[in-house]
Amino acid sequence: MKTFKIFTLIALSGFGLIRAQQTPADPQSEAISIVGATAHIGDGTVVENATLVFENGKITALAAGAATQGKVINAQGKHVYPGFIAGSTSLGLVEIDAVRPTRDMDELGDMIPHIRSMIAYNAESKVVESMRPNGVLLAQVSPKGGRISGTSSVMQLDAWNWEDAVVKADDGIHLNWPASYRRGRWWMGEEPGFHPNKKYGEQIDETLQFLANAKAYNQKPATEANIAFAGAKGLFDGTQKLYVYANGEKEIIDAISRLHAAGVGKMVLVGGYEAHKTADLLKQHQVPVMVNATHNLPFYNDDDYDHAYKLPALLVKAGLLVGIQNMDAANFQVRNLPFYAGHAAGYGLDKETALQLISSNTAKILGIDAQYGSLKVGKSATLFISEGDALDMRGNQLTHAFIDGREISLETHQTKLYKRYSNKYKTK
């Protein structure tokens, strides 16, 4: 018996390394009705004591007192939310930051729009599964690094493989706009702080040249293919958005105006530390902002201590379409997405508006709002039930979660270990 136990342990732990992923859920087989919950629609409104019915993956009814159908889940006193959506993550591309073999988010090369995140997405990532118990059910998975990092896709976080996971393939191209200041390279004898980047203009020029060439090429492709140019086609035919990473006022103005002039149709600003200073320009060009997460220190010494906390509110009040992302943090932190939004609510937003920053707004920005981001009849039943306020650490306790109506597992590598070791001490 003892031998057997050891054997299973070894088998489990060995197995665990390769496949931690909980088994993806089967398609919805029967109608489900959630009854009595406070439904946070995701568009700023709330339906108290709601009955929410979904069938075949779609919401079919949502109203106080709507007729139930199929399996009934009593959610009295509980809350229902649309699945949260994380933008600009490298989920599934990096498993363990410090272990190089598990890092797949940064390909060689500076202008590589043809590099696609989707195919490297690890559907069995232990980090990915740990998103779900916090309500994060969808994510934009994007390459990192270089100037044009590559092409992202939007994935749902309960899948057998990457094809299974894709919600929107190749949704956008990610551009790190040059910075007018850069850190000194101390190892090359430079002072370590920030200095003017003398190559700023040159770097902008390189970027715009690439885009101009890509645009021209895609008007009439040469006989010899250029897959990098071809990879940027969607920027000029309106099928892909350009996610522009910029933080400083100057960089934002340069980026939006120059890229607009270069013929890039749809842009999203990612970062936006000083986006509040450029709100008019962003509005004029209808550029939404995926703002840095609230858990960031001020960049400049003399900035308000709560700059990052209140920035989402400033941008919302300026009339911009705003989502929250945390591209600066390690992947595992993406599960704190609801708390970033909650924190923003403590600094000038009402809670339902804060919720929009990680649901309907992000869905709109990513172009998946027809199906995701809010609880509406006809939309995908990608949602969860929480014991309490899901934007607060104490209330965010999921009892059920659904992606396209499939009831997904809320177990993870971590909950398993929790149970295993809790049991160890119980049996003692």
């Binding site: 200041y181 400083g248 003399d302 709560d306 403590g346």
Partner: protein, 979 residues
């Protein structure tokens, strides 16, 4: 070069040297300088005096000096004589050693020398004189700005050996110039570039190394060392020499002084020009300072985008630094000046004038350049003033030496003349009528006598002109008109000594020569003493600390009555609704309902929550350095040495309700450094932030970092977890033997590292150990058992849940991240339920940050234990207050709201575990260190002051001042792994 050296005759007769080059030729004549204003010293001025010199020395000075017949007399009517300047922090003639070339894939941990100290950066045996080589080009650049003598040294390493006092005498040779070949010892905090030996990698390591060096020198002096250590021998031999410490910063000055105090040494300290910011502490060092004159250029803030990068502190330093010498002088802190730090030596006078324009007296300025440096070296009998018998090192100037219009004519060193500008230059400045080929021009000559400038007009029309003036010959070129109307004149005139009309000849455009006379119509009007100097400039006020969000006054303890709050006691009483808390004299004196204020300020806390201040068991903010990675044990270093009280993260953490933090060493080695436990008293000095009678802690570390797994380093033991155990066993065994020897009464070499380990074994110092995986957590407890002590805390422990039973049995606490994982291989099994499991096994559990950003919302991190593992809210709250206080052995003072405890309190606008909560007031010992309303005022003040200083810098730029491009000295945010 060799020929040159060979030829240069010694100025002084070296009478026992054979001479085969001619007849005996020695000059014992006198030289007399008469009718001069003579500054014998900063304190003694002789008007219309005579300076008599012979054989390189002063033979007499005063109003009535007998001039011998064999004297050459120079009449210096209207001119001034000063002692020439002395720079005692110089590297003149001494090449900086070459940088050691990097090789191999690993750092070098061992020393590379034999017969010397164990650390390559300790080189007290070096003598600057052995690598000294006189170069007159460099000497001339020093003489040009008034210097006659420098004390040079090898500007490299932590202990740098002795300097040499050199006269900048072109006409002699080293037999004359070298006034002293071992004068002063030099020290710094910076490693030698010539060695790749890794230790010390940090500021606290440099300090620890210096401390151990002195201990070892004493041990060596007592004859306990069987082998030869030439470094320590030299250090002992040079004991009588003054020690000059290159601190180059106010904080480092205090650090150096502490080392000096502990070893009976009063260092002379090379300052950084920011001493004024902590002037009282600087005064308390009782040190003499050597001050640089490298005042920062204004930032070019004309581009507002770029101006964003300049911090208010840097803007202030531009505004305030020129006042540093004045403020030092006002506090009667003695100082000398140095050229060191100046990018261009030619800026010396300009910057000195700037210091004077900020209120430094000319007398103090002169003292700082003459007698003070001489006194520092104990050479005041030889140099630094012009009394009889001293070296004839003096300057001849046209007037007050620190005036911008003054010309420095000659710099005499050892009685030898070095001309800077011609002394007998005729002052041709003034207005003239110039008649050339029947045309009359108005010539106006301004500028300085030696470098005059010309402006030529014909009536109101300006005429293009170029003036060249040398050896009293004026060469003036004029050009006028174009085409046929073009006129050109080339004019030569030798100025007449009476300074009247100019007579000479000219050549016109056709080559025709003729003579001319320019009639002087108006004498040049010399301005009075520098107008600029008359109006003393003022600086922007200092704050505590002197950075953005610093307070104009240090917060003081006040008496408060918090009325009607929800009070989270953190004690058995639990959470009390509608309760009052009375704070007096920095303590919590009463908790109850309907308390009387008794004169205390009443704070209406209705609907608000009052808690104890948050305690962070694991932080690296407010530190100048975090890891001493140069050895696998660095128990000798202390983070208390490197606390940075000006770090803006202190303020930001107060805004998050944090009041106490343990500042830990990093995790670069199994045995790290000693902790600093501080209260976030924004505005106080580092020493005042550190707890009185602070519990003693040290950082230990395990796992990937100490094995150096994640970077290229393969030569330091240990490289595996197996080795980590043996590393601990090895050091504790040594410490045990050390203690046994110490207790035996036999002589023993004091070893700061071993002393620290002995403290651990004796239960006087507590370990907070960086830990991730269960195997090694278990291991360290077993090592502790073996050596008879208890591990106090496993910090940011992540697999504590796997060995929680063993931990409980050992009695160790667990401080953990709330939910971090997946960033490295060893945190693969980290789970956010860790805190809950450990807590249920009876372990004292804290949630820590190890992160400057996260620490300011530890209330939210605590709340995650409610989500992950179902902690009660009260238990969750304890994890960031009383539990870490217990782990730090500070629970009798802080961590809960209890009568008699320190009034370290936070008033929240909401439930403290709520994601929506905001700290409104943060108190430490009854003083308000953060207040939301005050913060709003501070923001406005920062904005206004930035704008004021930007305007001042724009004015400076418009006025022609040099500028630098805006930049930001970004502070690193340290984590455990930061190297």
């Amino acid at each position: 070069m060799w020929a040159l050296l060979w030829c240069s005759a010694p100025m002084m007769a070296q009478d026992y040297f054979p001479n085969n080059e001619g007849v005996k030729n020695e000059n014992h004549n006198y030289r007399a300088f008469t009718n001069a204003t003579i500054y014998v010293s900063a304190d003694q001025v002789v008007k219309n005096g005579t300076l008599l010199i012979q054989n390189g020395k002063v033979a007499g000075v005063g109003k009535s000096v007998n001039i011998p017949a064999n004297a050459i007399v120079t009449d210096l009517e209207g001119k001034s004589i000063y002692p020439s300047f002395i720079d005692i922090y110089s590297d003149f003639g001494v090449k900086k050693p070459e940088k050691a070339s990097g090789s191999g894939r690993s750092p070098q941990y061992q020393q590379s020398r034999e017969g010397f100290y164990w650390n390559d950066h300790i080189m007290p045996e070096k003598n600057a004189i052995t690598s000294f080589s006189y170069t007159d080009k460099d000497a001339a650049s020093l003489r040009k700005v008034g210097f006659g003598v420098v004390n040079t040294h090898i500007n490299d390493g932590i202990a740098r050996g002795t300097g040499a006092l050199i006269a900048l005498n072109k006409h002699g040779n080293d037999a004359d110039r070298v006034l002293e070949d071992r004068s002063a010892q030099y020290f710094s905090l910076d490693k030698s570039v010539a060695s790749r030996q890794s230790y010390p990698t940090s500021l606290m390591g440099s300090l620890a190394l210096l401390r151990q060096m002195y201990v070892d020198a004493a041990w060596y002096a007592q004859g306990h060392v069987a082998t030869t250590d030439r470094s320590l021998e030299a250090l002992n031999r040079n004991k009588g020499l003054v020690s000059i410490f290159a601190a180059e910063d106010k904080g480092n000055a205090l650090r150096a002084d502490k080392i000096g105090d502990a070893n009976g040494i009063q260092y002379v300290i090379l300052g950084g020009g920011n001493e004024f910011e902590w002037i009282d502490d600087i005064k308390a060092t009782e040190a003499t300072y050597i001050l640089p004159l490298n005042f920062p250029d204004a930032y070019d803030v004309s581009n507002p985008h770029q101006a964003r990068y300049v911090s208010l502190h840097d803007m202030r330093l531009w505004n305030q630094k020129p006042a540093n010498p004045k403020i030092m002088a006002d506090k009667a802190i003695p100082f000398a000046f140095t050229l060191s730090g100046l990018k261009k030596k030619d800026d010396f006078f300009k910057n000195l004038q700037k210091a004077i324009s900020y209120g430094l007296s000319e007398k103090e300025a002169l003292r700082a350049l003459t007698s003070r440096p001489a006194e520092i070296l104990g050479m005041q009998d030889k140099v630094g003033s012009l009394e009889q018998g001293k070296w004839a090192n003096f300057l001849i100037s046209s007037g007050p030496i620190f005036d911008s219009g003054t010309t420095l004519y000659e710099n005499w060193v050892q009685g030898q003349k070095h001309s800077i500008n011609t002394l007998d230059v005729v002052d041709i400045r003034g207005e003239y009528d110039l008649n050339l080929n029947g045309l009359t021009y108005q010539l106006n000559i301004t500028g300085t006598p030696a470098k005059p400038k010309a402006e030529v007009k014909q009536d109101t029309n300006k005429v293009k002109s170029k003036l060249n003036y040398a050896d009293n010959w004026m060469h003036l070129n004029l050009q006028q008109g174009e085409g046929d109307q073009r006129k050109m004149f080339r004019i030569n005139a030798l100025a007449s000594t009476d300074g009247g009309n100019l007579n000479g000849s000219f050549v016109d455009i056709n080559g025709k020569e003729a003579s001319f006379t320019a009639l002087k119509t108006k004498a040049y009007e010399t301005k009075g003493p520098d107008a600029a100097k008359k109006t003393i400039k003022s600086i922007t006020p200092l704050t505590f600390p002197n950075v953005g969000y610093g307070y104009s006054e240090r917060p003081k303890a006040e008496n408060f009555l918090f009325k009607n709050a929800t009070v989270w006691t953190g004690e058995a009483a639990g959470v009390l609704e509608n309760t009052d808390v009375l704070v007096k004299k920095g303590k919590i004196v009463k908790i109850g309902t309907n308390l009387g204020a008794g004169g205390a300020t009443v704070v209406d806390a209705t609907g608000k929550h009052l808690t104890a201040g948050i305690v962070d068991e694991h932080s690296h903010i407010a530190l100048l350095s975090v890891n001493e990675a140069g050895q696998n044990s660095s128990a000798e270093v202390s983070m208390e040495d490197v606390v940075d009280p000006e770090d803006i993260d202190i303020y930001r953490n107060l805004a998050g309700g944090v009041t106490t933090m343990q500042l830990l060493h990093g995790s670069a080695n199994p045995i790290g450094g000693r902790s600093a436990i501080i209260k976030l008293k924004w505005g106080s000095s580092a020493d005042d932030m550190i707890y009185d009678n602070s519990p003693k802690f040290i950082k230990f570390a395990l796992g990937e970092n100490v094995k150096q797994s994640n970077w290229q380093s393969f030569s330091r033991f240990p490289q595996t977890r197996m080795g980590v155990e043996q590393a601990f066993v090895n050091y504790f065994q040594q410490a045990k033997e050390y203690q046994a020897l110490k207790n035996s009464g036999k002589p023993y070499r004091k070893d700061v590292e071993m002393e620290t380990l002995v403290e651990i074994m004796n239960g006087e110092r507590f370990i907070s150990c960086h830990s991730y995986v269960q195997s090694e957590i278990n291991m360290l407890m077993k090592v502790a058992d073996k050596f008879g002590f208890r591990v106090n805390t496993f910090t940011h422990i992540l697999e504590g849940y796997k060995v929680a039973d063993k931990m409980a049995e050992h009695g160790v606490g667990g401080s953990t991240f709330s939910d971090w994982w997946a960033y490295k291989y060893e945190v693969n099994d980290a789970i956010p339920y860790n805190a809950a499991i450990m807590q249920r096994q009876g372990i004292t559990v804290a949630i820590n940050s190890d992160d400057a950003e996260m620490s300011r919302r530890l209330n939210q991190e605590a709340a995650k234990t409610v989500k992950y593992g179902g902690m009660s809210e009260e238990e969750a709250w304890k994890m960031v207050t009383i539990n870490p206080a217990k782990l730090l052995h500070l629970d009798h003072r802080v961590g809960s709201i209890k009568e008699g405890k320190d009034a370290d309190l936070v008033l929240w606008n909401d439930h403290p575990l709520s994601v929506y909560a905001k700290a409104e007031k943060t108190l430490i010992e009854g003083a308000v260190y953060f207040d939301l309303e005050k913060d709003a005022q501070q923001r406005a003040a920062v904005k206004k002051e930035r704008n004021d200083l930007i305007q001042q810098m724009l004015d400076a730029k418009a006025g022609g001042s040099p500028t630098q491009s805006p930049k930001m000295a970004k502070k690193e945010h340290f984590h455990c792994d930061s190297l």
